[in-house]
Symmetry: C2
């Protein structure tokens, strides 16, 4: 997952990024994504009660059919910043709108970084002014934008997909950040999806919501929901004048789902300090919520995550994590496989070669846990990573 794919830029979009001086490191920290014309737009956001000012701004202005830009800064989350934080968002949108010749409400904003500090507005405004002339449809400008939204991520997260050829063809480009649901001093997972597919605004939100439900909502690094989580999808419609309807929406929805899954998996794989990428399949649950609660309890257990880090097929930690998920199952309804090896069947331990399984875990970055219940037909696929001393170092060795 470490190689960035070749990029096809959907028609109607340009990007630029600069070093605005928000990150203490002095790196790229301001991304400007602009549309040539009005775009249909949809978004999904954090469920945290403490949510960032830019999240409030996007919620207020979405859904919309005339979005013109997304401005993203890294290095400062503009979260828990009170009324001044709200004013900063408005000021950012107004400055970008002036540069593009549109209204402030047509500019969406996202931030990631330390919580509780006011945005340095002089730097943000100067950064926007410096970025605007560089707006370009060149793939390289989108790679640079993908770089500018990162915090503790070790690599950019980009997905580029195409559908069809010739007249009806359209494409989708997505970029994301997130080395944890929250990083050290930084909060957030962000993802921005751009497409030239011609989609009605009313169709866009359900397609995005559904895709997010089974991608970003199925990832956890340490279970700490950020204040800034934001996924935005902009459709320029530049690919065609024939709006997609009915069955023609299906390949587009599949594309959005595929893009979200790819980016979500890359987040878990790039989890802070991670040495293992863990896929958890929960099957046979009574309903989707139940499946999610079971998967999340396993994914978030520090004891499961440290066991996998230590290549320990300590399945008792896995079944006991499922046991406190709030799902009223009986032990005899549960069977468990680790990397395809049966370790627990219908409530009873299975005889297995623990040292061979340990060697298998040690030798492979990918680990697969399958929990099969006999409660119903619902299932979920969930992704997480292991918990390492490097995670502790990254998150403890920082002083405000």
């Amino acid at each position: 997952m470490s190689e960035s794919p070749p990029i096809v830029v959907p028609r109607g979009f340009r990007a630029s990024a600069v070093k605005a001086g928000v990150k203490p490191s002095g790196g790229l920290d301001l991304a400007f994504l602009a549309a040539d014309g009005p775009c249909a737009a949809a978004g999904t956001f954090t469920t945290n009660r403490v949510c960032a000012a830019p999240v409030r701004w996007c919620r207020e202005n979405l859904p919309a059919d005339d979005v013109r830009a997304i401005v993203v800064n890294a290095g400062n989350a503009n979260a828990a910043t009170g009324a001044q934080g709200e004013a900063s968002v408005r000021q950012t949108a107004e400055r970008a709108a002036a540069l593009l010749g549109c209204e402030a409400r047509q500019v969406l904003i996202a931030s990631t970084g330390v919580i509780g500090h006011q945005l340095p507005m002089d730097r943000i405004e100067a950064g926007l002014v410096a970025a605007a002339p560089g707006l370009s449809a060149d793939p390289e400008s989108f790679r640079t934008a993908a770089q500018a939204i990162l915090t503790t991520d070790t690599r950019t997260k980009i997905v580029s997909l195409q559908h069809g050829e010739g007249a009806g063809a359209y494409s989708l480009l997505g970029i994301a950040k997130g080395a944890a649901m929250i990083g050290p001093r930084m909060a957030t997972m962000l993802a921005f999806l751009l497409t030239d597919a011609p989609v009605w605004p009313n169709d866009l939100q359900p397609i995005l919501s559904e895709a997010v439900e089974e991608s970003f909502n199925c990832v956890s690094v340490e279970g700490h929901t950020s204040t800034n989580d934001t996924v935005l999808l902009l459709a320029s419609g530049a690919a065609s004048n024939d709006i997609l309807r009915g069955d023609d929406l299906k390949p587009f929805a599949d594309m959005v789902r595929s893009a979200c899954r790819t980016l979500a998996q890359e987040m878990a794989d790039d989890g802070e300090g991670a040495t293992h990428f863990i896929t958890i399949d929960v099957e046979g649950a009574a309903d989707r919520d139940e499946a999610r609660n079971l998967a999340r309890a396993v994914a978030d257990s520090p004891l499961v995550k440290t066991a996998i880090h230590g290549a320990d097929p300590n399945w008792g930690r896995i079944v006991s994590a499922a046991g406190y998920a709030g799902v009223p199952f009986e032990e005899t309804e549960l069977s468990l496989w680790i990397n395809g090896v049966s370790v627990y069947a219908l409530g009873t331990p299975t005889a297995f070669d623990a040292s061979a399984l340990s060697a298998d875990i040690r030798a492979n970055r990918d680990v697969h846990l399958r929990l099969l219940f006999s409660r119903g037909d619902a299932s979920i696929r969930f992704w997480t990573c292991d918990l390492t001393a490097e995670y502790i170092r990254l998150n403890a060795e920082y002083t405000t």
Copy 2:
């Protein structure tokens, strides 16, 4: 909290402990607590759906007014062991009952250790036979028993309390284990409380349940609820023939509460790898459940725990953890203090000396977080510890 207090053994109880060979280390691992006569008994247990065979056994046989013994082994949790695990518990109880001359149902059982392995019954039975002749009311035998129930704990956890003098006097002795709600390969927190106070069985359970609610249920190390959590309270009544009733029960209930709190705090303080003991006060919540959910979200956040390990007054991590607790508060309803320093007031950051606060956290093992809401009158005090690389090492560097 590291010094064991002088012990007063409540009348009517004896203890013994041996090295039965269940722990791979070869240390003390079997504790036998016996009552001279029938005791009123109450218990509280894990809420995990995957619960150990001894937990099922105790649940079946409680409440009771004629309990004669508690047998505890460390090194094997006898959890997720199916029908064979149930048979092992019965066999253990039967063997102990034969040694004491009572029925199996009068013997309570608790286990702690690795999940999913069958108990070595030959060793357990031989251990019981070896332990029985050593049963003694000497304080030293209870200290040895407190040692035998430990797993990764770095020290024994003992509380000894007395009430009154002369004829009406009674005492309570408690021992516990738990270096985490779950330890590496070991599951569990266990606590055993013995008293000679004359209390009706019907009064004993509510007194214990209430005490557990605000002690053991307010502790978290990493949030992984064990399969074996067990708290048992035995009352021999040997102190007096005058049963405690009405207002006379109040000092006894206070004693139980105090004992549970002391042992619970010692567990968090002895959390695996911990360098800080953290007290979290949530005040002004709408109800007790709300207060608990808020406190638990903060206590279980790896980002809050690593920040405190790093002496970082990164309060954004604390308010954002509260934000995903499932409590529908507004940011303007929340204020936060760290070690008495206001860092966030009614939804807005406070100006404070971050380096002085960091130095204060670094210099002291005790850390105090106070979250004040303006939603109601409910409050809770919760205890946890920080998350360190040593925790990762303890839990990863083990292979089954």
